[in-house]
C-alpha cells in the first residue's frame, strides 16, 4: 500500500546552508494493509523524519514515496486532501497537540469543517461518539472538556479517534507512548492492535522502546544514522538479532526477568561525519570488526527470506558467502 523507494533527506545547516546533514539515507521499505511496522532507533536516527516525509510535512530530497502506486509528492488540492483522508499521524506529546484555550473536542470540529461539511449536526455527533467508543473513551467524559482536564492517555486516544473519523488506512504513530505512564501505555498499545485487527489499519510505529515494538508489530526496521541496518520479521530480529547495533539496543532494555549483564554499552558517538564505511563503525564493539568496515558501506543483504542485515561480518557469517559480494550502497555524506 505504501512504498518508500530509496528515500533520502538532506538537511542544510549553517549560514547559507553550507553544511549538509544526511538525516535519512536511501531508505526503502513497503507497508501492506493491516501490517504494523516498527521503526526503531535512537534519537537523531532519522526515524521521525521518515514519518514526517510520509505525512508530507517535510519534502523528500531524493527518492519517492508511493501510496497505492501514486507518488505522494505530486498530490495537490483534492488529491492531497484525499491522501490525508487515508493517511494520518499521531505524535509524541499529546499536550502540545492541542490549543489550551479551546476545548479538546475542537479537533473534531475542524475535521468536520474540512472533510464532512455535508453532514448534519446529528449525524456528525453520532460519528464522533462511534469513534470515541472505538478508542475506549466515554463520550460524556471527554466531550466539552479542556485539554488540561484530561489525562495524557485520554488526549492521545482523542487524537487517534480524530484520525479514525477519516477513513484512514495508514497511521504514523511517532513515539505516541513515551509521555504516558506504564499503565496507560498498554491501553493505547492494545487499542492500536485492535484497530489493526478489526479495521485492517496499517501502522508505522516509531519508537525507541523495543519491548513495546515487539508486543504489537509484524516487522521491525532498525535504523542508525538514517541508514537501515537490520530489517525483517519481528520474531527474527528479536530472537536472533544480527547487527551489533540491534544487539546493543536489545541488551540495554531493562527487563524484569534478567539483570543487565556486564556487556559494555557504547555511549552514543557525538559528532563525526560518515566518510564512507559503515555508519556504525566507530561505535561497533563487534569482535570481528574489520578494516573493510571503515571504508565500505555494507548494503542490506538477505540472510533468509524474511530477515536482512547491513553488516559486513554478520552478513557474510549468516549467508556463508565469500568476501566482496556485498557492494557499497549509496554514497558517503558530503
Amino acid at each position: 500500500m505504501l512504498e518508500l523507494e530509496r528515500v533520502t533527506k538532506i538537511y542544510r545547516l549553517g549560514v547559507l546552508g553550507r553544511k549538509a546533514l544526511k538525516a535519512v539515507d536511501s531508505v526503502s521499505f513497503t507497508v501492506a494493509r493491516g501490517q504494523v511496522i516498527s521503526l526503531i532507533g535512537e534519537s537523531g536516527s532519522g526515524k521521525t523524519t521518515i514519518g514526517r516525509m510520509i505525512l508530507r510535512l517535510t519534502p523528500v530530497t531524493f527518492g519517492r514515496i508511493l501510496f497505492q502506486g501514486a507518488d505522494i509528492s505530486k498530490f495537490h488540492g483534492l488529491a492531497l486532501k484525499n491522501y490525508y483522508r487515508r493517511v494520518q499521524g499521531v505524535f509524541q506529546d499529546p499536550f502540545s497537540s492541542y490549543n489550551p484555550i479551546f476545548k479538546a473536542d475542537r479537533i473534531f470540529n475542524i475535521v468536520q469543517r474540512e472533510f464532512f461539511p455535508h453532514l448534519t449536526k446529528g449525524e456528525w455527533r453520532e460519528r464522533v461518539a462511534n469513534a470515541l467508543c472505538s478508542v475506549g473513551l466515554e463520550p460524556g467524559e471527554v466531550l466539552g472538556k479542556y485539554p488540561h482536564q484530561l489525562s495524557g492517555g485520554q488526549l492521545q486516544r482523542l487524537l487517534i479517534a480524530r484520525a479514525m473519523l477519516l477513513e484512514i488506512q495508514f497511521l504514523v504513530a511517532d513515539e505516541i507512548l513515551s509521555m504516558l505512564d506504564a499503565s496507560t501505555r498498554i491501553d493505547v498499545l492494545n487499542l492500536l492492535a485492535e484497530l489493526k485487527r478489526i479495521r485492517d489499519l496499517a501502522v508505522l510505529f516509531i519508537t525507541h522502546d523495543l519491548s513495546l515494538a515487539y508486543y504489537i508489530s509484524d516487522e521491525a526496521i532498525i535504523i542508525y544514522r538514517g541508514y537501515i541496518v537490520e530489517q525483517g520479521a519481528i520474531e527474527k530480529v528479536f530472537v536472533s538479532p544480527l547487527h551489533p547495533y540491534t544487539r546493543m539496543l536489545l541488551a540495554a532494555v531493562p527487563r524484569l526477568d534478567r539483570k543487565w549483564g556486564p556487556a559494555e554499552v557504547g555511549l552514543k558517538a557525538q559528532e563525526g561525519k560518515i566518510v564512507g564505511g559503515c555508519p556504525y563503525h566507530d561505535r561497533c564493539l563487534h569482535a570481528e570488526k574489520e578494516e573493510t568496515c571503515k571504508h565500505l558501506k555494507p548494503s542490506l543483504v538477505f540472510v533468509d527470506d524474511r530477515h536482512s542485515v547491513a553488516c559486513h561480518p554478520m552478513g557474510r557469517l549468516a549467508k556463508g558467502v565469500s568476501h566482496g559480494t556485498s557492494e557499497a550502497r549509496g554514497t558517503s555524506v558530503a
Binding site: 535512537e42 492494545n190 508486543y215 527487563r255 524484569l256 543487565w260 557504547g266
Partner: protein
C-alpha cells in the same frame, strides 16, 4: 541508625479550589548505601516527595512531618535555612536537564556560579571537576560549550556532575532517564550506581515509573498511589511477590520482550486515580481494586509485615499475613 528518616510528611498544593493533597503522610527510612526506587503513576506524589526534600516552594505547602538526615533535622519548610543543606547534603537531579541549564552561560560558568554560592572558587576545584567529568565519560571540552551544543544525554550527565559535585549524602534522581534512548539510559543509570559505589553519595532515591529499570539498580522499592505509600520492600520482594493489588497491576502492565499481543494480551490498570482535592474516604485504591471489601472504607495503615522490614498498606494483605 538510618541515614534518612522521614516521618509523617504531608505536603499539599495550594489552589484556588482548595488544597490538593499530593503527599499525604509519608514515613520511611533509608539506610547507608541504599538505592531506593520510588515508583508510581504520574500524579501519585512521587516527584512531590522528592522535590519537597530539596526545594519546597509555593504552590507547595508544608503541612507537617519531620525529615532527619544524618542526625540533622532538615528545616524543609524554610527555603532560606535549607540553603545550607542544598547541594552539600542533599541534592536533586531534575527530570528535564535541558531546562536546568541556563542557555546563555557556558557550562564552566554554570559550575563556577553555583560553587560561588557555596564560597568555593572555581579554579581550586578544576582537577576534581576533570575527574568527575571523566567518571561520566564527558570530554573536558564541554566546559567551554553552551548547553545548546550538547545532546540530551550529555546535558543530563552535566547536571549529574553538577548535582553531585559537593558529595551530598543523599541524591534524588527524578525521572532522569525518561527522555533518553535505551542505550543512553543504561549508561546513565550505571553511572548513578557508580556514584554510590565510589561513595560520592551515601544513599539515593531514584524516582521513576519504569519498574523494570528499578529492578536493574535498586536495592529497595517504595510504591506510591494517590499521595499515599502503598508498599515497600526489597526489589526482589516487590517484583516477585507483590502484596498490594496496585503493585501487582503495575508489574502486570509492563510489556517484556517476548510478549506479543497475539499470544498474551496485557492489561492496563482499569479506572483512573482519584482526584486529590477531595480524596475518597478509606483506601485510595478502593475504587479500582478487585479485592475491595467493607473494611477498605477505613484507611489501611502502612505497617510492617514480617521481620525483613517489608511494609504494606492494604487490609487484605494484612489479613493474609495475620
Amino acid at each position: 541508625m538510618p541515614l534518612l528518616e522521614v516521618q509523617d510528611l504531608r505536603v499539599y498544593y495550594q489552589t484556588i479550589r482548595g488544597d490538593v493533597k499530593a503527599l499525604d503522610g509519608a514515613s520511611f527510612s533509608l539506610a547507608e548505601g541504599e538505592i531506593m526506587g520510588l515508583a508510581g503513576e504520574s500524579g501519585c506524589g512521587k516527584s512531590t516527595l522528592g522535590r519537597s526534600l530539596v526545594l519546597l516552594k509555593p504552590p507547595m505547602k508544608y503541612v507537617e512531618g519531620r525529615v532527619t538526615l544524618e542526625d540533622f533535622s532538615l528545616p524543609i519548610w524554610d527555603r532560606e535555612k535549607m540553603n545550607a543543606f542544598r547541594f552539600s547534603k542533599i541534592s536533586l537531579i531534575p527530570q528535564y536537564a535541558m531546562n536546568a541549564l541556563n542557555p546563555t552561560r557556558k557550562v564552566k560558568k554554570i559550575f563556577t556560579d553555583i560553587l560561588a554560592t557555596k564560597g568555593i572558587k572555581g579554579s581550586q576545584v578544576l582537577p576534581e571537576l576533570r575527574r568527575r567529568l571523566e567518571m561520566v565519560e564527558l570530554p573536558l571540552d564541554v566546559l567551554n560549550m553552551y548547553p545548546i551544543e550538547l545532546s540530551g544525554g550529555m546535558k543530563q550527565r552535566v547536571v549529574m556532575v553538577l548535582s553531585t559535585f559537593l558529595n551530598p549524602s543523599l541524591l534524588i534522581a527524578d525521572e532522569i532517564t525518561s527522555a533518553l534512548d535505551v542505550s543512553t539510559q543504561r549508561a546513565v543509570v550505571k553511572m548513578l550506581v557508580d556514584f554510590r559505589d565510589r561513595r560520592v553519595v551515601r544513599a539515593m532515591i531514584v524516582i521513576t515509573h519504569d519498574i523494570s529499570l528499578l529492578y536493574q539498580i535498586a536495592d529497595s522499592i517504595l510504591v506510591m498511589y494517590a499521595g499515599k505509600l502503598v508498599e515497600k520492600g526489597t526489589t526482589e520482594e516487590i517484583l516477585r511477590a507483590p502484596k498490594h493489588p496496585y503493585t501487582r497491576f503495575l508489574i502486570a502492565s509492563l510489556p517484556d520482550i517476548g510478549v506479543r499481543y497475539g499470544e498474551r494480551k496485557l492489561e492496563g490498570v482499569p479506572g483512573c486515580p482519584p482526584l486529590l482535592l477531595q480524596p475518597p474516604r478509606g483506601c485510595r485504591f478502593r475504587e479500582r481494586c478487585p479485592h475491595a471489601f467493607e473494611k477498605c472504607l477505613e484507611e489501611p495503615p502502612f505497617v510492617a509485615i514480617g521481620p525483613s522490614g517489608r511494609q504494606v498498606a492494604c487490609w487484605q494483605a494484612l489479613e493474609e499475613h495475620a
